[in-house]
């Protein structure tokens, strides 16, 4: 592993800005980009990361390695632009000493739009840190551990702390945190508040998902508005919020439709699109480019759906990927399709199932914003009883006509592993073949890309699908 890395402040963010700009430019010529990535495949797909392909391999593989359709590549370009715009705003705000609001993942960053301030998702480098090479996330995690962060924390959050300590993410003005999806979040929110020394607003995410829980979240959003008004010394602009939420409604509509179309046999879409859309949603759903991405993805999947075509020529296996996808191996989706004709038809984070926000009044906007926050993927499943995980899983078994399940048992996820026996029993009862991976989704040192490929290959072979 490379030591003595250059940790110039915000280096990773700047590297991402450069590469995301390239993605955006190349996506203007989707056919050319696809052909280019396809031709170069021998240099990065079958081989591991080398000094030659280190800076580009992750990006190329996330872009499908030439296997996505030109329409999807174009949509990815818009996604890259949405993320790029956010990173640019963040770096600019940092340089000019303007307010930056850290909004933890699985919370609504939309309110920041209404305050005309830059929001930053402190978990952004969980995915985008890989662009610098596979060793980088591990180095950030190590830095956090070296400074005393508990090793058993979920690595996603250790990575945030490491990135902050190494000044790879900017100093916030205020932070917005929440009590879901897990204890690491609860704990890291305090660590971050202690380290940064800035005011923090914390959402107490209710345990249940009923009317009183929605009302409680709604009340907290009003508190959040008061907090932001006081901390940022500016007033909320309701018109901006309305515009923003109307875009979010459209964004959710398109993605929700894609999820519905995934129920078709053969499945017309690839799940990496939706997983990627979740990342974009987390980072900058405020950008008009996020909506353009959703529109384009919808158009591509709809086209296939109407023609009765699948994302692969011969769909052999329909897979449910349960629990968060592997951040360092985003190519998993396309690899399974390409190698085995196995299509991930639904997963834990890409699935959009939420309400449309009624923008007719301030009250309805906040009421429904509370609901959308509670329906955000990962938060929706992880904050309450195990049924929030298993009911959705079983629903997907039926609705998506799933042949098997892959459980990405993330190392730091204590409540996930404490539910594993229940999940296993359900699969056994329903005679659902399941592969239980023991993995760290952020850190390849637990099980690396090759290890994942080997385990999945062996699983498919043992069921006669390979």
């Amino acid at each position: 592993m490379k030591k003595n890395k250059n940790w110039r402040p915000l280096r990773l963010l700047n590297l991402n800005r450069l590469l995301l700009s390239l993605v955006y430019i190349f996506s203007k010529f989707p056919r050319f980009s696809n052909a280019f990535m396809y031709l170069l495949r021998p240099l990065y797909e079958p081989v591991r990361e080398t000094w030659l392909n280190r800076k580009l391999r992750y990006g190329f593989l996330t872009m499908g390695g030439g296997l996505l359709s030109p329409g999807e590549v174009k949509a990815y370009g818009y996604a890259a632009k949405a993320v790029l715009d956010n990173f640019n705003d963040v770096v600019r705000a940092h340089r000019r000493n303007r307010p930056i609001v850290w909004v933890e993942w699985i919370l609504n960053a939309e309110l920041c739009e209404a305050f005309d301030v830059v929001s930053f998702n402190s978990a952004a480098l969980n995915v985008f840190g890989n662009i610098d090479g596979m060793a980088t996330p591990s180095l950030l995690i190590e830095e956090a551990e070296k400074q005393g962060t508990p090793v058993e924390y979920c690595s996603a959050m250790k990575l945030d702390v490491g990135a902050y300590l190494l000044k790879q993410i900017p100093q916030p003005t205020v932070t917005i945190a929440g009590s879901h999806p897990c204890d690491t979040n609860v704990s890291v929110a305090q660590t971050i508040e202690y380290l940064t020394g800035v005011p923090s607003f914390v959402f107490d995410v209710p345990y249940w998902k009923d009317e009183s829980s929605f009302a409680y979240t709604e009340e907290q959003i009003w508190d959040q508005i008061r907090f932001l008004e006081e901390s940022l010394s500016r007033k909320i602009d309701w018109e901006r919020l309305r515009d923003m939420l109307e875009r979010v409604n459209k964004f959710n509509f398109y993605l929700g439709e894609i999820c519905e179309m995934h129920k078709a046999v053969p499945c017309p879409g690839t799940m990496i699109n939706l997983a990627f859309a979740w990342v974009v949603r987390e980072i900058n759903v405020r950008s008009p480019y996020a909506l353009r991405m959703a529109e384009d993805l919808y158009r591509v999947v709809k086209g296939r759906y109407e023609r009765g075509r699948g994302v692969v020529r011969r769909e052999k296996v329909r897979v449910l990927l349960w629990f968060p996808p592997i951040a360092f191996f985003t190519y998993l989706f396309k690899w399974m399709e390409h190698e085995f004709g196995a299509v991930i038809v639904a997963d834990f984070i890409g699935q959009v199932s939420t309400v449309q926000i009624d923008t007719s009044s301030r009250e309805t906007m906040i009421r429904d914003l509370a609901k959308t926050q509670m329906y955000l993927a990962m938060g929706r499943q992880c904050h309450g009883p195990v049924e929030f995980i298993t009911d959705e899983m079983e629903r997907f078994f039926d609705a998506y006509r799933v042949d098997c399940m892959i459980f990405t048992g993330h190392q730091g996820c204590k409540h996930g592993w404490a539910a594993a026996k229940i999940i296993q029993d359900i699969c056994k009862k329903r005679k659902m073949p399941a592969l239980y991976l023991t993995i760290d989704i952020m850190d390849q040192r637990c099980l690396n890309e090759q290890g994942v490929r080997n385990e999945i290959t062996a699983f498919f072979k043992s069921h006669g699908w390979a």
């Binding site: 914390v202 404490a418 594993a420």
Partner: protein
């Protein structure tokens, strides 16, 4: 056998004669999991609140079927006991969203369909503010309804006030014992207090008050530590084993204050008897010295720590956690950072509940105490070196 030995035996078992007597007389016992569950509601229903514990589990093998190796030993031991039928005397169990490990206990308990039938998830907020207080009031009221609905009993305001009075009395007595450790020579050791708390959280409150009165009378003029002991503030989550605290004491430590489940978090502050009972309970249970599950309260916990160090003349802090406890892992990180700012020594320990490793812990404790004594001695030497004729008359 003196009273402390009697209590130690009681604390080492699942149940004691007081609880068994109450059950024999037709009382129902209701288990609950966390310091945020209001015992008064259970008591006002005519039941005996029983703090769930892992004691005398004999292992985790059955619990390990449901919980993984990255779950803490408290839940694995407890669930092992549940599957063995050790909690068969309970008529209900109140779970809580205390942490990721314990909240899944509710799920696994239902999945394994372990008796009793009344299994209730009590939800406490993760923040301390006005909005959360309102929510907590509703939660306590819902809990009251659920309990009375299931068992067909009335929980009247009058009964609640009486329960509040009794529990206030119990907490005040515990607080007196706790605070007696401000003295230079402790009249009661930390391990003894832990045993008392283990015992009184599994018996009718009326009996516990009588027992505490007896203890209070016994400790007058008692010397349970020596002046050379290193005075310790203990910060931790689940500590059940009196033997573990005895280990600290035999190495030369005297636990003078704490923030542990069976300690300050149980006895800190009383319910305001003048307030509406439910509102009073919500205020007390939300505002007592908190556990790291309360996200926005770490500054108040640090204040409590700093204040206790001053008031109880603590020389050092031992901050412990069970393996895989994120919440206490993060808290220890903050305590260590704070120790550098404030200059108090900290020993961070990680351990398993009822686990091995006593030798390792002993070595670490001995080394830590030696450092502190050396520091103390060095300070005294400096004082001497300065001569004793410099004092201003």
């Amino acid at each position: 056998m003196d009273i402390f030995e009697k209590i130690k035996i009681m604390a080492g078992k699942d149940a004691n004669e007081f609880l068994e007597g109450a059950i024999k007389n037709g009382k129902k016992a209701i288990g609950y999991f966390c310091s945020y569950v209001p015992e008064e509601i259970i008591h006002a229903a005519g039941f005996v609140p029983y703090r769930m514990r892992a004691i005398a589990s004999g292992g985790t093998s059955r619990g390990d079927i449901y919980f993984s190796a990255i779950n803490c030993t408290f839940v694995r031991h407890c669930f092992h006991k549940a599957l063995q039928g050790d909690f068969g005397f309970l008529d209900g169990v109140i779970f809580m969203n205390g942490c990721d490990h314990t909240r899944r206990m509710y799920d696994n308990w239902r999945h394994a369909d372990i008796k009793p039938d009344f299994r209730y998830m009590f939800v406490a907020p993760h923040v301390v503010n006005k909005t959360a207080r309102k929510r907590f009031i509703d939660e306590i009221a819902t809990f009251r309804q659920a309990l009375s609905g299931h068992f067909g009993v009335q929980i009247t305001d009058e009964a609640l006030r009486e329960s509040i009075r009794l529990y206030n009395r119990k907490r005040s007595l515990l607080a007196e014992l706790y605070e007696s450790r401000r003295q230079e020579i402790l009249p009661i050791r930390g391990s003894e207090l832990l045993n008392i708390l283990m015992a009184v959280t599994m018996m009718p409150v009326e009996d516990s008050i009588a027992l505490l009165e007896e203890v209070k009378n016994t400790i007058r003029g008692r010397a349970a530590s020596s002046s050379g002991d290193v005075r310790i503030f203990l910060a931790s989550g689940c500590v059940e084993e009196g033997e573990h605290l005895e280990l600290i004491e035999t190495c030369g430590g005297a636990i003078v204050a704490d923030n542990i489940c069976y300690g300050a978090r149980h006895l800190d502050s009383i319910v305001d008897p003048a307030e509406d009972p439910i509102q009073g309970l919500a205020a007390r249970y939300l505002d007592h010295v908190s556990c790291p599950r309360m996200i926005d309260d770490f500054r108040r916990r640090l204040d409590y720590l700093n204040c206790a160090i001053r008031e109880y003349s603590a020389d050092a802090v031992i901050a412990e956690k069970l393996k895989f406890c994120d919440l206490w892992g993060g808290e220890i990180y903050i305590i260590r950072k704070e120790s550098k700012k404030r200059g108090f020594p900290v020993l961070a320990l990680e351990r398993e509940l009822y686990g091995a490793g006593e030798g390792q812990i002993r070595t670490r404790l001995q080394a830590f105490f030696e450092q502190i004594r050396n520091r103390r001695a060095a300070d005294q030497e400096m004082f001497k070196a300065a001569g004793n004729n410099y004092t201003v008359s």
